[in-house]
C-alpha cells in the first residue's frame, strides 16, 4: 500500500485507489463521452435539429488551432521590421512567402511555403486585454457583459453538425486535443451536452491514452474483464426492473465499448501512421495532435480543437518564440499539406490564432527583460481551407503593429464567414433548449446586407 492509500498491484491497477478504479470503469460504462447521447434520449422537448436554410456549403469540418495565451502578431503573421528593434526584437528579418507580397515571421519558414493555402487576417480586433474576456469574445463572437453566456464556435458547429445531422459517428462531434480550454465555457448556455470531449493524454507518447477510451497500460482483454466485473457488481441494475433510463445507460455503455474496443477508437492509434508521416508533423505533442486532428476529420468528426498553450510570454518572450514557433510551423504546414494531399482541405476549415496579440513595443525593462504584454487592439488569425481563398491578407495594421489601420475584423465576422462555409446561416436562429430567441451569431455593423470576409469567402 502506498502512502496515499493507493493500491500498487502491478499490471492491473497502477497507482490509483480501488475506489478510483471502480469509478473509472463506471464512468466508461456510463460513457462520459456519450453524455450527449444520454442527454438527447432522456430529455423531452429536444432542440430543433433541422438546420436553417444553408447557403452553399463547402466545409464539413473545422480544425481550430487555439494558441492560448495570445501569440504575438508581429513575430508570426504581421511582421514589422521597419519599426526597429524595439518592436521587431531580435528574431531576424521576416521571410517572403510563396504568396505574392506576403511575408511572415522568420521562424515560420515552412508555413512560408504554404501561403497559397491560407489567408491572414491581420486586423482582428476586439480591444480587450483580459485572457478570459478576450477568449470569450474570440471564441463566441459576442461581447461580454450580457445576461447570457453564449456558446463558442465549436459548440455551435457541433450542435448543427453533430448528432442528428450529417455526422453520426461514435466519436463525439466536438473534440479538443488534449485539455479543455479553461478560460471560458465552450458550451455556454447550450449546456454540458455541447461541451467538447477532451482527450487528455499525449499523442506523442507511445500509447495515446484518451480519456475513457484508451487507458494507459490496459489491454483490450483487460478492458473486457473490467466490463464483466462491472456487470457482476451491478447489484442495483439487477434488482431494479428495466426502465427507459437504465436501458439508455445500457445503450451508452454499448456505444462506449464500441469506441474502446471497436474500430472507432482506432482513430487515436497513431501507430497506424507511418514514421515519416509522424516525423513530418513533428514528434511533439502539438505536431502529433495535428496528425490526430487530420485523422479525426477523416473519420468525419466535424470540430476538432488543438489546444496549444504557452503563448502568454510576458517574460522570456523571444526564447519562447524560438522554441515554440518552429513546432507550430512544422505542425500547421504539414497539416495543411496533408489535408490538401488527401483532398480534405476544401472541406475542412483550418483557423489558427489566439485570444489577442502581444504588445508591439518590447518591454525591455524589469521584470519583463524582453517580454510582451497583452494586445487586444489588433492581432492576426490564419484561415485556410473550407472554400476560403488562400494567399490573401485581410486588413492592415499601422507601422508599429499597434492599431488597425484598415478594415477591422471582429471575431463575429470570422465566425459568420465560417458558418456560411459550413452551410449554417449565421443570421438564422440558434436552436437551444431554453427557448431563447437568439441568432447563431451577431450581425455585423453593416446590418443584414453586410458581407462577411468577402476578401476570402
Amino acid at each position: 500500500m502506498r502512502e496515499d492509500g493507493a493500491v500498487s498491484e502491478p499490471g492491473l491497477i497502477r497507482g490509483i485507489t480501488r475506489r478510483d478504479a471502480l469509478r473509472r470503469i463506471a464512468i466508461v460504462a456510463a460513457g462520459v463521452p456519450m453524455a450527449a447521447t444520454l442527454g438527447r434520449v432522456a430529455w423531452a422537448g429536444d432542440a430543433p435539429t433541422t438546420p436553417p436554410t444553408a447557403k452553399t456549403a463547402r466545409a464539413k469540418a473545422v480544425i481550430e488551432i487555439w494558441m492560448a495565451g495570445g501569440p504575438c502578431h508581429i513575430d508570426t503573421f504581421d511582421p514589422k521590421p521597419e519599426a526597429g528593434e524595439d518592436y521587431a526584437g531580435p528574431l531576424g528579418a521576416p521571410i517572403q512567402t510563396n504568396a505574392d507580397g506576403i511575408r511572415i515571421g522568420s521562424l515560420l519558414p515552412l508555413l512560408a511555403k504554404q501561403a497559397d493555402k491560407y489567408s491572414i487576417i491581420r486586423s482582428m480586433s476586439h480591444g480587450n486585454n483580459g485572457h478570459e474576456t478576450a477568449a470569450y469574445i474570440t471564441q463566441t463572437g459576442r461581447n461580454p457583459g450580457e445576461r447570457l453566456v453564449y456558446p463558442g464556435f465549436g459548440a455551435v458547429v457541433s450542435l448543427f453538425k453533430g448528432g442528428t445531422n450529417a455526422y453520426t459517428g461514435v466519436i463525439p462531434p466536438y473534440v479538443v486535443l488534449t485539455a479543455p480550454l479553461g478560460r471560458f465555457s465552450e458550451s455556454g448556455f447550450l449546456g454540458p451536452k455541447y461541451a467538447p470531449f477532451a482527450t487528455g493524454g499525449d499523442p506523442n507518447q507511445r500509447r495515446f491514452a484518451v480519456e475513457g477510451i484508451v487507458a494507459e497500460g490496459i489491454s483490450d482483454e483487460r478492458q473486457k474483464d473490467r466490463r464483466e466485473l462491472l456487470h457482476k457488481l451491478d447489484a442495483l441494475g439487477h434488482a431494479l426492473p428495466k426502465s427507459p433510463g437504465l436501458e439508455a445507460l445500457d445503450r451508452c455503455e454499448d456505444k462506449a465499448y464500441d469506441m474502446i474496443l471497436g474500430d472507432a477508437g482506432r482513430v487515436f492509434d497513431l501507430s497506424e501512421e507511418k514514421d515519416p508521416v509522424r516525423d513530418s508533423y513533428g514528434r511533439t505533442t502539438f505536431g502529433q495532435s495535428c496528425l490526430v486532428a487530420r485523422r479525426l476529420v477523416e473519420t468525419g468528426v466535424p470540430y476538432v480543437t488543438i489546444h496549444v498553450g504557452g503563448w502568454d510570454t510576458h517574460k522570456q518572450h523571444f526564447e519562447t518564440m524560438r522554441r515554440r514557433l518552429p513546432d507550430l510551423d512544422r505542425g500547421v504546414s504539414t497539416l495543411l499539406q496533408d489535408l490538401a494531399g488527401r483532398g480534405l482541405l476544401d472541406s475542412t476549415i483550418v483557423w489558427c490564432g489566439g485570444e489577442f496579440g502581444r504588445t508591439p513595443k518590447v518591454l525591455w525593462e524589469a521584470p519583463w527583460n524582453g517580454g510582451r504584454g497583452h494586445h487586444g487592439r489588433c492581432f492576426s488569425t490564419l484561415v485556410a481551407g473550407g472554400g476560403f481563398k488562400g494567399g490573401v491578407v485581410v486588413g492592415t495594421t499601422d507601422k508599429k503593429g499597434e492599431d488597425v489601420a484598415d478594415r477591422p475584423v471582429h471575431p463575429r465576422e470570422l465566425h459568420g464567414a465560417m458558418y456560411e462555409k459550413l452551410g449554417i446561416d449565421p443570421d438564422g436562429p440558434l436552436p437551444n433548449q431554453r427557448g431563447l430567441d437568439v441568432t447563431v451569431t451577431d450581425p455585423l455593423e453593416g446590418g443584414a446586407d453586410a458581407k462577411r470576409l468577402p476578401e476570402i469567402a
Binding site: P81, E85, P90, K315, E365, A366, P367, W368, N369, H374
Partner: protein, 814 residues
C-alpha cells in the same frame, strides 16, 4: 496671491530632505548593453534604528559592478560590501546537499563518501562567501539564514530574474538622523537604479527568525515597543511572540506596500499583507487585512489580559516572494486616525481636533495646532501634522493650506431645506459624520460663471469616497461626480475625490450636496471642498527619478505635466539652483501638451558622484509668473497592466567623470528648428575643442521620433556634425511642436572598415584606443552609454555614443 500648489503630495512622511552627495571610490567601468538598465526590487531589512549599523541586502538585476549605494537625506550613509550573482541550479543542489549534511550526521557521511568518489572535475564549487562555507561550524539559526538567503523561493522553482542578483550593503544611521522614510539607490556603471524606501526609526528593531513553522514556545520573546522586519516567501506566515499587559493600547502599523508600492508581475499588484493577533491560548483576537482604503493593515488592540501574544504576518492570498518585505511597528505610541479640519487658510490660526490612539490624557482625541503660516518656504499647499506625546511623535497626516476664505460645516444641514449658507469663492471643511450623513450647502452664484467644485478628501488621506451633486434652486441637477483623477500620482488606486466644473445658468441660489458614495461615515470622514471660479494650475513630474549622466553628455528624461482647472498654457522646465555647468535643453512644454522629453547635460568637469538636482516649472497664469517645484517620479506598472507615476523624494543624477574635459556640444542657432511639412531643415551641432577625422561615420537616430520625421544626410566637418530633418507631408502635422531626441552611434561594421580591430565583445574597451572614437565620445565612456543593441535586422552592431541635447522643433507649412 497665487494659491500654493498642493496636489503633488509625496507619499512619503514628513520631512524636507537635503541631499548629501556620495562620492564613489572607483571609476565606473565601461557598461554593457544600454537596454540592461539596473534596477532593484527590494531591500531587506527596509529600515533601521538611529545610532546603529544595519546589514542590508538589496536585490535586483543588472547590478554587476555596483560601486556605491546612496541614501537620501542627512545622517544615513551606505557602503557596498559585496555583489553576488544568483546560484546556478547545480550550485543550489550542492548547497542543499551541504546544508542537509550539516544538519544531519548521517547525511554528512553520505556526502563525504560521495565526495570521495567524485572526480575533481565534477565537484561543484560554491561562491566565496562567508555564509557558504564552514557549515559544520554554523548554528541551526545560521544554517536557516543561509537557506533563506540563497535558496529562498528558488526552492519552489520560482526564478525571478529581476530580484536574483544581490548586493550586501552596510548602512550606518547616525544618532541624530531624522526619523522617517528615506530612499536608497544603487550606483552601477550602467546607471542609477530606481529608489527604494528605507525607513529610519527610533525604536528597537527585530528580524524574523526565518524558522519554518516554529512552535509558539520556540519563538523568541520580543520586548515592546519594537519594529519587526520580515520577508514573506510562498506559503510563509511569520510569527512574533511578545508579552503585553492588560489595558495596553497597542497599535500594529504595517508597512508593506509603503516599501514596494507596485509589483508589475503579480496580481494583486503588491504584497497584500495581513496581520493576526493570537492570545496565549492560541485564539485569534484581532485581524486586519487593510487599513480603510490602504492595503497596508493596522491593528488596534486593547490588550485584554496580561500574557503572551503572537502576531502573525502573511500575504492575504498566501503568496510570497523575496520582495514581499515588510516592517511592523508595534507600540503604544500615538497614532492619528483622523483629523478635523483637514486644512485652513494661510495666515490664520487653526487648531485641529485629532482622533486616534494613545494621544494623551484623553487618549483618543487631542488638540493639535496647525502651522498655517503664510511665509515663503513654509511648505507647499500640503503640510504634515504630527502629534506628540511625551516627546514621541505619531504618524503624520496631511492637511491643506490655501488662500481662499474658509468656513466650517455646521450641522444640521442634512437636507436641501436646511442647507448651510456659504459664500464663494471659498473652502468649506466638512465631515460625513455618520453612515448616510449628507451635507448640503447653498450659495449665490452669478449667471455665466463657470465654477469649480473640488472636493479634497482621499488626497488628504480621509476615508471618504465623496459624491458631489450641484443643483439649482429648483433642485434640477446641473452636474454630479463621484471619482475624478486629477493626475497627481501617488500610490493610491482609487481616485475617490470628486470634481465638477459647471457653468451656472443664471444669477441665483445654487445647492451643493456632498455625500459618501458608499454610504459610509464617521468622525474620520472629513473633507474640504473648494468652490469658486477655476484656478488654473499645474504640476510637473520628471521621470525617471534617477539618471546617469556622463560628464559633458546629455541624457533624456520625460517631463509630465498635469494641468488642473483648465490650464492650457505653456510651461517651462528649468534647473533651479544648479551648480555651474549643468544644462537643461528643450525645457519648453507647449500649450496643450502634457508630456515632453527633454535633456539634461552634466558639466564637462563633473566627477564621479551622485548629485541631487532641483528642477522647477514656470508658467504665466493670469499675468502672474507661477513657480512649481518639479517632482521626481518613476513610472511603475501594477499587475501586468496599470501604469502609475510614483513620486520619489528627489531627482538624483549620477555623474561619471570624463577622461578629457571637453566643452559641451552646442546646437547652432537659437529658437526652434522650423521644419516645413513635406520639406526639410538643417541642424548644425558644434563640437568645440574636438577634431573629427575625415570620413568619420557617425550615425544619428531619432529616439521615439514624432510621426513623419526622419533624419537624413548626416555629414561631419572637423568640429561639427550637420544633418537634415525631413518631415513627411502626409504623416507630419503642421503646428506640431516638440523636441527631437537624437542619439549618436557608430556602426561597428563601419568602424571595422575604418581600421578598428574585430568588433569588441566588451563594447567600448577596444574603441577607446581608436583616435576616431575619442572625438565624439570624450572618453571610451561615451561608449559606456551602451553598445551592441544586438543584431538588428541587418546584423549590424551599434556602438552608442550618447544623446545630443534636446532640439526644439516646429513643423510649419511649406
Amino acid at each position: 496671491m497665487r494659491r500654493p500648489a498642493r496636489r503633488f503630495v509625496l507619499a512619503a512622511s514628513a520631512g524636507v530632505v537635503v541631499f548629501a552627495a556620495l562620492v564613489t571610490s572607483s571609476r565606473a567601468a565601461d557598461g554593457p548593453d544600454d537596454r540592461k538598465e539596473p534596477s532593484v526590487g527590494y531591500v531587506y531589512p527596509a529600515g533601521g534604528r538611529k545610532a546603529t549599523v544595519v546589514q542590508v541586502l538589496a536585490a535586483g538585476q543588472n547590478l554587476r559592478g555596483v560601486t556605491a549605494a546612496s541614501v537620501s537625506g542627512v545622517g544615513v550613509s551606505a557602503k557596498v560590501l559585496r555583489f553576488m550573482r544568483p546560484l546556478s541550479p547545480q550550485q543550489l543542489a550542492e548547497l542543499r546537499r551541504q546544508l542537509a549534511a550539516a544538519a544531519d550526521p548521517r547525511a554528512r557521511d553520505r556526502v563525504a563518501r560521495r565526495d570521495a568518489k567524485t572526480p575533481e572535475a565534477e565537484v561543484i564549487e560554491l561562491p566565496d562567501h562567508p555564509m557558504l562555507k564552514d557549515f559544520d561550524k554554523k548554528s541551526p539559526k545560521e544554517l536557516r539564514d543561509v537557506a533563506a538567503r540563497f535558496i529562498g523561493s528558488a526552492a519552489r522553482r520560482q526564478v525571478n530574474v529581476q530580484i536574483a542578483e544581490t548586493v550586501e550593503i552596510e548602512v550606518t544611521i547616525d544618532r541624530d538622523a531624522a526619523p522617517g522614510d528615506r530612499e536608497i539607490r544603487l550606483v552601477t556603471p550602467s546607471g542609477l537604479t530606481n529608489p527604494l524606501r528605507f525607513q529610519v526609526g527610533a525604536l528597537p528593531e527585530a528580524m524574523d527568525d526565518e524558522v519554518p513553522n516554529p512552535a509558539t514556545r520556540d519563538l523568541a520573546l520580543i520586548d515592546l515597543p519594537v519594529v519587526l522586519n520580515g520577508q514573506i516567501l510562498p506559503g510563509d506566515a511569520d510569527r512574533f511572540r511578545f508579552r503585553a499587559k492588560r489595558g495596553q493600547r497597542l497599535v500594529f502599523d504595517a508597512s508593506a506596500r509603503r516599501l514596494v508600492p507596485f509589483l508589475a508581475d503579480a496580481v494583486p499588484g503588491w504584497f497584500q499583507a495581513t496581520m493576526s493577533l493570537y492570545d496565549g491560548a492560541g485564539e485569534e483576537i484581532a485581524f486586519a487585512d487593510d487599513y480603510r482604503f490602504d492595503p497596508d493593515p493596522v491593528l488596534f488592540v486593547d490588550v485584554p489580559a496580561d500574557g503572551e501574544y503572537v502576531l502573525e504576518v502573511r500575504d492575504a492570498l498566501w503568496r510570497g516572494r523575496e520582495d514581499f518585505v515588510y516592517r511592523v511597528t508595534v507600540s503604544d505610541e500615538p497614532f492619528i486616525t483622523g483629523m478635523f479640519p483637514l486644512g485652513g487658510r494661510a495666515g490664520s490660526e487653526r487648531t485641529a481636533t485629532v482622533l486616534g490612539w494613545n494621544l494623551g490624557p484623553s487618549s483618543s482625541a487631542a488638540n493639535l495646532p496647525l502651522d498655517m503660516s503664510a511665509e515663503e518656504g513654509a511648505g507647499g499647499g500640503v503640510r504634515w501634522a504630527v502629534t506628540k506625546r511625551g516627546g514621541v511623535a505619531s504618524n503624520a497626516l496631511p492637511y491643506a493650506v490655501d488662500d481662499l476664505p474658509e468656513c466650517d460645516e455646521s450641522e444640521p444641514n442634512d437636507s436641501a431645506a436646511t442647507a448651510q449658507t456659504i459664500t464663494i469663492p471659498g473652502n468649506v471643511n466638512g465631515r460625513i459624520g455618520k453612515p448616510g450623513d449628507v451635507d448640503w450647502f447653498t450659495f449665490l452664484g452669478l449667471g455665466g460663471d463657470e465654477i469649480v467644485v473640488d472636493v479634497e478628501g482621499r488626497r488628504l488621506q480621509s476615508p471618504i469616497d465623496s459624491l458631489v451633486t450641484l443643483t439649482d434652486a429648483t433642485g434640477k441637477v446641473l452636474g454630479w461626480n463621484d471619482d475624478f483623477d486629477d493626475g497627481s500620482g501617488g500610490i493610491g488606486t482609487h481616485a475617490a475625490d470628486s470634481f465638477l466644473r459647471v457653468k451656472l445658468p443664471a444669477y441665483g441660489q445654487y445647492r451643493l450636496k456632498i455625500a459618501d458614495a458608499q454610504a459610509h461615515g464617521g468622525p474620520e470622514f472629513g473633507y474640504r471642498v473648494r468652490i469658486g471660479l477655476p484656478a488654473p494650475d499645474f504640476g510637473v513630474f520628471a521621470t525617471p527619478s534617477g539618471v546617469r549622466v556622463p560628464a559633458g553628455h546629455s541624457v533624456p528624461f520625460t517631463a509630465r505635466l498635469v494641468r488642473t482647472d483648465g490650464f492650457l498654457g505653456e510651461v517651462e522646465v528649468r534647473l533651479k539652483d544648479a551648480p555651474a555647468g549643468w544644462m537643461l535643453s528643450g525645457g519648453r512644454i507647449p500649450a496643450g501638451h502634457t508630456s515632453v522629453r527633454m535633456t539634461i547635460a552634466a558639466p564637462p568637469d563633473a566627477v564621479d558622484a551622485v548629485v541631487p538636482l532641483q528642477l522647477e516649472a514656470v508658467a504665466l497664469i493670469g499675468g502672474t509668473e507661477v513657480h512649481r517645484a518639479v517632482v521626481a517620479a518613476d513610472e511603475r506598472m501594477q499587475a501586468f497592466i496599470y501604469k502609475h507615476v510614483v513620486p520619489a523624494q528627489e531627482f538624483a543624477v549620477a555623474t561619471v567623470a570624463a577622461r578629457r574635459n571637453q566643452p559641451p556640444v552646442v546646437i547652432a542657432g537659437t529658437g526652434a528648428v522650423r521644419i516645413p511639412a513635406g520639406g526639410a531643415a538643417t541642424v548644425r551641432i558644434e563640437l568645440p575643442g574636438r577634431e573629427l577625422p575625415r570620413g568619420f561615420d557617425v550615425r544619428l537616430a531619432l529616439d521615439e521620433g514624432p510621426a513623419g520625421l526622419r533624419i537624413e544626410g548626416v555629414r561631419t566637418e572637423p568640429s561639427a556634425i550637420v544633418f537634415t530633418v525631413r518631415a513627411d507631408a502626409a504623416a507630419a502635422t503642421v503646428g506640431t511642436t516638440d523636441n527631437l531626441i537624437v542619439e549618436a552611434y557608430l556602426d561597428l561594421v563601419g568602424l571595422a572598415a575604418f581600421g578598428a580591430p574585430e568588433a569588441p565583445t566588451t563594447p567600448g574597451k577596444g574603441d577607446a584606443k581608436k583616435p576616431g572614437a575619442k572625438s565624439k565620445a570624450p572618453d571610451g565612456k561615451g561608449a559606456a552609454k551602451g553598445a551592441g543593441k544586438g543584431d538588428g535586422p541587418g546584423g549590424l552592431r551599434r556602438l552608442a555614443l550618447g544623446y545630443l541635447p534636446a532640439i526644439p522643433f516646429e513643423i510649419v507649412a511649406k
